[in-house]
Amino acid sequence: MTDRLGTRADFERFQQTARHRWEALWQGDKLIVSVGVDSSSEPKGASRVLAACREALRGTSAVVREVSGNGAMWMEPTVEIKRPGEPPVVYGWIEPEDVPALLAGDLQERAVGVRGPEAFRGIPPLDKHPFFKHQVRIVMEDFGVIEPDSIEDAIARGAYSALSKVLFEMTPEEAIAEVTASGLRGRGGAGFPAGIKWESGRKARARPKFVAVNSHEGEPNVYKDRRIHEGDPHKILEGMLIASVVCGAERAYNYIGGEYPLAIKRFRRAVADAERLGLIGKNILGSGQDVEVRVRTGGGAYICGEGSALMYSVMGVRGQPRTKPPRSVEEGLWKRPTVLNNTETFANVPAIISKGGEWFSQIGTATSAGTKMMTVQGPLKHVGLVETPMGISMRTLIDEVWGGMRDGHQFRGVQTGGVSAGPLTPEHLDYAVDFDSMTELGGMLGSGGFVVFDQHVCPVDFARYLTAFNRVESCSKCVPCHRGNPALVEILDRIRLGGGGRDDLSLMERTSKHIIDLSLCGLGQVAPMPLLGMMKMYPQDFLDHIERHVCAAGACPIATPEALATAAD
């Protein structure tokens, strides 16, 4: 146990030691086995693989490490093996019973790549793999590299040096100027410039002030934020601390979805370790700054991803949004100024402070700087979590990064923006993936979760699914959303059952307009967007259901008039 680091010099000494230890480990003559354990590999048996490795190597000098996965979910569980004098090699599809053969060196056909610049014995560098080739990793830099439960690993790789820089070398104004110069925009979906929000937070005069991280991630289409907690929790924590210091906040909250036990566990561990070292709490590194960090967990209500609802949830009441203004940066948690950003936004901040806003703004596009973590779902070959520069084309993502469609599945479209936007069809794949390009088509970057669907998915049924999600998750506070979404689902069900009429299309458009114009919160105002997008992109499917009573995908229960009569009851 290391003592509390009372000064910046203490921190730098600690950092030196951690770096030496890190280099000695990787340049030493020990066998190093790193198993990727996270919420996507765990269900495939990653912990049992880890246990098997520990068992097999008990009593030897080998080092067995619990890292997180590297995002390549389709090849999980993954194990990285570094033998003395050789570069680390990543192996995929490792079951617990494969471990003896793997350690004996007999599973060369499962070698996926070398973590490093050079090929080794015919195994190419991992970065040459199409899945990794297009990626630029800022947030995910150390996924699968560090042990997320080890603050020493994180510090050896540079964690908290940006915090130290902000505390001792920069004024808050300078730090905010870097964030503004970087062009960092909110990663939760809305894309509001982080620097401007922080500036408002700093200028707010009420005290105390708070910082809050939105790690709720209740969308049905994305799984990135929980993975930052599982892969590199210290990046989030450092971002929160920097934001607190520059905005003058005395307390920082992280609101994590309660469904993600591993994310919560690893983040809590990170907080406990940072507290022990004096990176959190009173008088951080002797700077005179105090920041308290609190972890709060959600209860599985999608609406709590909305800013004001999230804050009500933190305050222990029902998460129902309120009208704005005042914005949360003026009146948030406990009616005090609160700077709220998405997890990924905070996780980008340490690199921006360390390398400069200018460096960050060079990545991505002119209006969407930096990288974006993106997840994919659907019948693709290489399903996984990636981080690519903004502006990459949807075609590159789908065909190369995610490996194209699986055999027997034809690409029909890709749903963007979760439950808040519409789909793109095959002819729109050359659009750039960033905050602004897709909006003219009714698409949206959102939080970066894309859902590819094939010929077995019916656009009418999909629209029903998406609208039904909004119906179930409506917080019921305002009538347009609470009553409007069930009305839409009812009409869609009529169409799905073959009982729809042509006027149902205009009725849905009118109802949608009411929901959009009159709903109280941002989520209500976009609830009909998926339906409108589906109607715009796949008009023929809607007409086929209505006029010919045909569902080309075979997904809808197109039925006889008798069944319709029963369904109407």
């Binding site: 269900p43 809590r268 209860g299 599985g300």
Partner: protein
């Protein structure tokens, strides 16, 4: 701490609330034991911890009874009504006991586009249960997850007690359920408390 309202109210509620028979009643001393980890220094912290405490109770017992909700309310100096309002708002909480086995059936978008709708239909057709229901014999409770379980390469998936099952079809889902029932375990095997060993003060 303000005392909570009890008396006639709790008698009436346990009847309407049902389920509080001797077999599955929640041991309130155990609830108090859990709550003893949730210390607070001021009003704000007390409010912030209510949800976390309820989650812990829900995880431990599989549901939160009205009696337990009253104990929680008392601990945090608030009313049972307020606590019950939380239990019915947030999807993760159950106000009825779980069956012997507990299934989280993912209905996120990955699972939807890979056919989870058929699985939900199958649960209704074969097992007679919809989201939140328990089979008549008390063997299986299903909860449909509207979010995402994050194992999208294996969609559609479910978590049944401690185990995940991926690439599901109605047939493999039924097999998994029969296997779990025949196997004799229960959802308690999967009980990994979220906050084990952690510091609740934050």
């Amino acid at each position: 701490m303000a005392p909570t309202i009890s008396g006639p109210d709790s008698e009436m509620s346990s009847e309407r609330y049902g389920q509080t028979n001797r077999e599955n009643a929640i041991d309130l001393d155990e609830v108090r034991q859990i709550l003893s980890h949730f210390k607070y220094r001021d009003f704000q912290e007390a409010q912030e911890l209510i949800l976390s405490a309820l989650q812990e109770v829900n995880e431990h017992f599989g549901w939160v009874s009205l009696d337990a909700a009253e104990v929680v309310a008392h601990h945090f100096g608030t009313t049972a009504t307020r606590v019950y309002g939380l239990l019915t708002f947030y999807a993760d909480f159950r106000t009825e006991p779980r069956g012997k086995h507990f299934m989280l059936l993912c209905h996120g978008m990955a699972c939807y586009v890979m056919g989870s709708q058929r699985l939900i239909q199958n649960l209704e057709d074969v097992w007679g249960i919809a989201d939140g229901d328990t089979t008549a014999d008390g063997e299986l409770t299903v909860q449909v997850v509207n979010g995402c379980l994050g194992v999208c390469d294996k969609a559609p998936i479910c978590k049944l007690d401690a185990d995940f099952f991926g690439d599901l079809t109605p047939e493999t889902l039924n097999q998994a359920i029969r296997g779990a029932i025949a196997g004799g375990g229960s959802w308690r095997d999967a009980h990994h408390p979220v906050a084990a060993g952690s510091n609740h003060d934050r």
